[in-house]
Symmetry: C2
Subunit: 184 residues, 2 copies
């Protein structure tokens, strides 16, 4: 067990009930009625669930020091008692994205797409956590987990719409949206 | 099997005979008489060797487009028939390094330490390949594999001395140097 690595799996019951699952770009995932989230071990085989996705918390790849200082002012923690709505969004980016140099990816992501700035605009209402999956040889490159109070659902919808309208998103070749709510 | 992920293991015999093993910073690794290098599977337990280290080839994290274009002009492939000397250098960086933002790490690495520029100066004599290990929850963060002809050993020694004299290297808290040569 290591607290950086997590496995998100299709389940029948669990703390997070699946409200909807939809493919945004490319192939979807098989349906599930609940989402199970557990710390995982790198050497162990995955659970036998219909699908399971692993991701690891890692160092920042694009955020600069000044941006991080700004984010810290509005940052929201996961696990807030009123944040009973959540969403898991697995994303894969294209080969063309990964072939770009660091400055080219940064320019598309922030200078042209304002990824960090858009996310910050929805803080602290929508808390986020990014898990990296590509170097775990997973089917997706990233898993992003969002938590928010139900009254901020439309703000979350706006956030997704803005992100998907960016130049960066033209490099996304698979995206699934899994909305969940805390089981009562 | 996936060609991005490799496992480097202590062995009794094999294609690469160990010439020397030394700790540069921090704890060493147990001795080995040969080094075995195999493609690895992410879900499988590691081999039962005295030690084995996994690393994955990944996208560039710091190299910018202009630097990459310059590197391409002098780049050297692995596997050259005269490159019968090689070296595996596992490195771990400190928590302080990983806590830095992207621009801070880039500034230390290249603007202050000239990591990319120094490496380029020894191309094509010394070919390199970087494997990432940190997000595989390995004991080291990186494995770098170097290949060169025996007559370029002193050039390789110079390269290591220059890298270890940089500001970036103050963030290295464990480093082991494993020199090998092709078994006859």
């Amino acid at each position: 067990m290591h607290e950086r690595l997590y496995e998100f799996s299709a389940a029948k019951t669990g703390a997070w009930r699946v409200v909807s699952m939809a493919s945004v770009i490319g192939e979807s995932l098989p349906g599930a009625s609940a989402l199970d989230i557990q710390p995982a071990s790198i050497d162990a085989a995955k659970s036998g669930a219909t699908w399971s996705l692993r991701g690891i918390r890692s160092n920042e790849r694009y955020v600069e020091a000044a941006e991080r200082a700004d984010l810290a002012k509005v940052q929201a923690e996961l696990g807030r008692s009123d944040a009973t709505s959540a969403c898991l969004i697995p994303i894969r980016k294209s080969q063309a994205w990964w072939a770009l140099a660091q400055d080219e990816r940064r320019a598309i992501m922030e200078e042209k797409s304002h990824h960090i700035a858009i996310g910050a605009r929805y803080l602290p209402a929508v808390a986020r956590r990014l898990y990296h999956s590509r170097d775990l040889l997973e089917p997706f490159d990233f898993l992003t987990w969002f938590e928010f109070a139900p009254e901020h659902t439309s703000a979350f919808d706006d956030l997704l719409a803005r992100m998907r309208d960016t130049l960066e998103w033209r490099y996304v070749d698979r995206e699934v949206e899994i909305r969940v709510e805390q089981a009562g």
